[in-house]
């Protein structure tokens, strides 16, 4: 988070690169709000309570990385709205992983919090599960990193620039 210090965007590790994009304390909260349907500068600011210049910087960074896109305001005003791209929307899995972990381990019993629910039924979502190719559930010690070319199982790069809605 210093800046001159470590640069994560060019590391060979996918985790490091992802952190280079959304690995600061505000970005994932912006994503959370965007997933909740927020799109205006003021909505984000009111929700997050951070300084406007900081929010401005963060939004610009996320736009530069193709996570958010700027579109004309839907109410006909001259302002911008910030909407998730396909790349940004895909962060919902990360959001949920963060949410479920935080909920399980970062609250004292009885503390009030919010839960992620299925929009249709309003029932809680299942905890995320990781599965092997054959469907077996994979635990923390059943996996490892393995070198291979990045090309094969990825979608087109342009997908990241398509906007939601």
């Amino acid at each position: 988070m210093k800046g001159k210090r470590a640069e994560f965007g060019d590391k060979a590790c996918a985790i490091a690169r992802a952190l280079g994009v959304i690995g600061d304390w505000w970005s994932m909260l912006i994503i959370r709000d965007a997933l909740a349907g927020k799109r205006r500068f003021g909505e984000f600011q009111a929700s997050l309570g951070l300084a406007k210049n900081i929010l401005s910087t963060r939004l610009q960074k996320l736009v530069a990385h193709g996570v958010l896109a700027v579109v004309p305001a839907s109410d006909g005003s001259a302002y911008k709205e910030y909407v998730l791209t396909a790349k940004g929307e895909k962060l919902y899995l990360l959001t949920v992983a963060l949410w479920q972990w935080g909920e399980e381990f970062c609250f004292a019993p009885g503390e009030l919090t919010y839960d992620m629910v299925d929009k249709d039924t309003c029932k809680p979502l299942q905890p995320l599960e990781l599965r092997a190719a054959d469907g077996r559930i994979i635990g923390p010690r059943d996996m490892r990193a393995m070198a291979r070319p990045a090309a094969d199982l990825r979608r087109t790069r342009k997908a990241g620039t398509r906007v939601r809605r």
Copy 2:
């Protein structure tokens, strides 16, 4: 990441709290290494290439939050080893979410990277899927936050202090 600035640890949002614990640029990489089996100070330092004092601070913070635990060195030396607690191990889902997103969106075609594979078969893991209580797959726009008491679906708080291995 500044410090005096925003405090995330006491927010009502589980995401904010989780970010208060592992929401900086180094912690998730330490977790990644710990999941890969690293446990010694020097192993982390060599792998991450960060200053020793920073690593020391990060390790202490993770220990303080119950993500890592200090155990006597397994080789009989007087040194410490840092092992994941159950709370820390559970971060493997977050790690994989980060990994899969980074791999899909943060690499140019043809760039070399590492993949997460099933340790037994060495085959790639399935992309994470989010499911509703009834098993339906949930996309980014099929969920929302809902207020409720934190007490009901959480495990015991002590689980976080149990160490791995």
